[in-house]
Amino acid sequence: MVSGGASLPLFPKNRVSNLWTIWFDNDIRFICCVERGFLGGSQMRKNLIERKPFKQKKLIGYLFSSPFITFTLVMWIYPFLWGIVISFKKWNLISPRQTWVWFENYIGVLKDPLLWLMVRNSIYFMVVFITLTTITSLVLALLIKQIPKKYAGFFITGFLLSYVASGVAYSMVFNLLFAGDGLVNNLLKIIGVKVGWFTDPKIAMASIAMIVCWKFTGYYGLFFLAGLNNINPTLYEAAVIDGANAWQRFTKITVPLLNATFVMIIVFATITSFNLFTEPYMITNGGPMNATRTMMLEIYHRVFALLQAGYGSALAIVSAIITFAFVWTFRKLIEKDDIYDT
């Protein structure tokens, strides 16, 4: 779902200096976070590198970075720049003829009422998805934190399975589960309720958000778990001595000290919301009444079904700008730097 995103400065530099890797995909983000949160390996690596002379250090650095740099150049920089060029052209993807139309595609995108409908759909998805996933993943992390460490790995792996499952496969399974005569509706029939999960325009996007929440709960739960492990246990001990109850300890210690994790998850979830593709593509194809049409779906449809590569590229650029605007706004609203130093 989450394809290559924009190069967004998502974290304060003093906080995580090498997080330029978050440009790419969730797995790389994951590696960085685990490295900082759990392993404490950065100091060891720092010591090793510091023993080398500066030039050699530089060379080793480039050597180790070269696969990533090559990957970035070929798979991100080139398509990104080419996408910008195409967005100013009229090109049907399969013909050698490409005509410069400059801002015509951008004007078309901004004048199309579908753009604002898709933004509205993404916001609807984002609200449901972020609310649901934050709750489920935090609850999951809190539960896993309570169980002995030797069993925790089993549960973490179990919940991560949904994240690594094929989007196409589980979309088909959910489509059957939520069908008119599917398991969910058959159970609801007992209490006389029938829901058009994917056919009612009002709730189709919420149904998609539930599926994506199922996918990401284990993954985001891992971030929360890393965040929880980073909280100094003496803070809880002091709070207990001061007479704080469990709820007060949760709201006054756990939640504020998880701020960095909340910021990170909200940033990732926002990008996921605007990059949503597989589930609506597989289940609803953007319907009913365009209720699940997302910008990614429309970009794909424009480029590969209607052969409007220029228009699709312009929409991709506009989509990246809108996503960036949302991420930036959220960071401004919820990120609290002073908590980092606590």
Partner: protein
């Protein structure tokens, strides 16, 4: 020394000859529809060709998985990994490919006219598959679409198979009960562009006596034929005679009484629901449609196209096409293995098909519709038009957001804009 020289020379000669032999073998890429029955058929057919034509080999594969074959083929062509020869091409998509100079006209090859006669498809090709005086597609099969009605429930209720919209509404008034998952007619609400072939386009053809719903110049459907159908659809959804939820095989499970189906579902139904009894009937028509007039229907018909610009490969592809289309045994085997009707004018007359059709009465019902089956209306922007048709006409009426009159007027306006772009 001499011996060594002779051995070396002989080895060099053998290697050279082997190289020449290798060079003389031309291989073409051939893609076919991603359908298990067609896959089995082409696997055997290509194997037969390859074994008898060692110097003209075919590398066959099904069209890779994707949302639609059209998207996959276009993506492959855009990245230079497309096939040399492909099936599963409908007229509108062919027009799109022709506009971009991807297809090779078959009438430039020797023996084209003879081939049309040999396969008994001269009228079919010349009356529906021509583009600017050239013929780029050879139709492979024609699947007329028809209604299926649940025979057991109709018999139980004492109703005849509905012929008109009024018949359906009368039947629904006495049968429909959404609370018990008893609906009358399945109307597909999916927004995929091709779904509109099987409801709006089909019904327009039925009501209008086979008149095209648009051409390459403008929209033609803003008339009483479209209005009567959309008013019927409006009533079906307002009165909940058609389900809005998705079901798997709702007709076979008895959730709906009737549904539009293609012949490809006959074998599946026979295997998955062996006890299900159904009647195959022509499309529904308005109440004032004369009972003695034949009813036209939409034909899901796909053909074969040549995409390679390499002359050597073109020669191999054309030889394969001649070999395939000129031998009626291939069409007979196609019919048996895929249960799809070959695009021939003599399907009902030739003894090669008679035995299979008499053993498969359901398919024979479809075969009777062949003379009244109309392929998709020609327009290179079919995908864009049907996407818009869904957005401004179909879904707004189904979800009660527009009246049929307004929806049709809006659709005419919006679709004409696309055609004129």
């Amino acid at each position: 020394m001499k011996k060594t020289l002779v051995v070396l020379l002989v080895s060099a000669l053998v290697m050279t000859l082997a190289g020449v032999g290798q060079m003389a073998t031309t291989t073409i890429e051939f893609w076919t529809a991603p359908n298990p029955f067609q896959e089995a058929f082409w696997s055997e057919t290509v194997k037969e060709w390859n074994s008898t034509h060692p110097d003209q080999q075919i590398k066959w594969q099904v069209i890779p998985a994707g949302n639609s074959s059209e998207e996959v083929v276009l993506t492959a062509l855009a990245t230079g990994t497309g096939p040399d020869l492909s099936t599963n091409i409908f007229t509108g998509f062919a027009a799109q490919l022709i506009e971009n100079d991807f297809l090779v006209p078959f009438n430039q090859f020797d023996g084209f006219e003879e081939l049309l006669k040999a396969r008994s498809m001269e009228n079919i090709v010349k009356n529906g598959w021509g583009f600017n005086g050239n013929y780029y597609v050879l139709p492979l099969y024609t699947n007329p679409m028809a209604y299926w009605w649940n025979k057991d429930i109709l018999d139980e209720l004492g109703y005849d198979v509905p012929r008109t919209y009024g018949d359906v509404l009368k039947l629904a008034a006495n049968y429909n009960d959404p609370g018990k998952q008893k609906y009358t007619l399945l109307v597909r609400y999916e927004p995929a562009w091709w779904d509109r072939w099987y409801d709006f386009c089909l019904s327009y053809l039925a009501n209008s006596g086979g008149k095209p719903y648009w051409d390459s110049e403008k929209v033609l459907f803003n008339d009483e034929h479209a209005l009567k159908y959309m008013e019927f659809i409006d009533q079906l959804f307002r009165k909940k005679y058609a389900p809005i939820e998705s079901f798997q095989d709702p007709l076979q499970k008895g959730i709906v009484l009737g549904s539009i189906e293609g012949p490809w579902n006959i074998n599946y139904t026979k295997e998955a629901y062996p006890d299900f009894k159904y009647v195959i009937a022509p499309p529904l028509v308005p109440d004032d449609y004369p009972a003695d007039q034949p009813v036209h229907t939409f034909a899901d018909t796909k053909g074969m196209v040549m995409l390679t610009k390499n002359k050597q490969k073109q020669a191999v592809a054309w030889n394969f096409i001649k070999w395939y289309f000129s031998d009626i045994r291939h069409d007979a085997k196609w019919l048996e293995m895929t249960n799809m009707l070959p695009s021939r004018e003599d399907v009902l007359e030739r003894k090669e098909f008679a035995e299979y059709l008499s053993a498969n009465p359901q398919l024979a019902e479809y075969a009777k519709l062949l003379p009244y089956s109309v392929p998709p209306a020609l327009n290179s922007k079919t995908i864009e038009l049907q996407t818009k048709l869904n957005e401004v006409l179909w879904e707004p009426v189904i979800y009660g957001k527009k009246t049929p009159v307004k929806a049709i007027n809006d659709a005419e306006k919006e679709l004409n804009k696309i055609i004129k772009q």
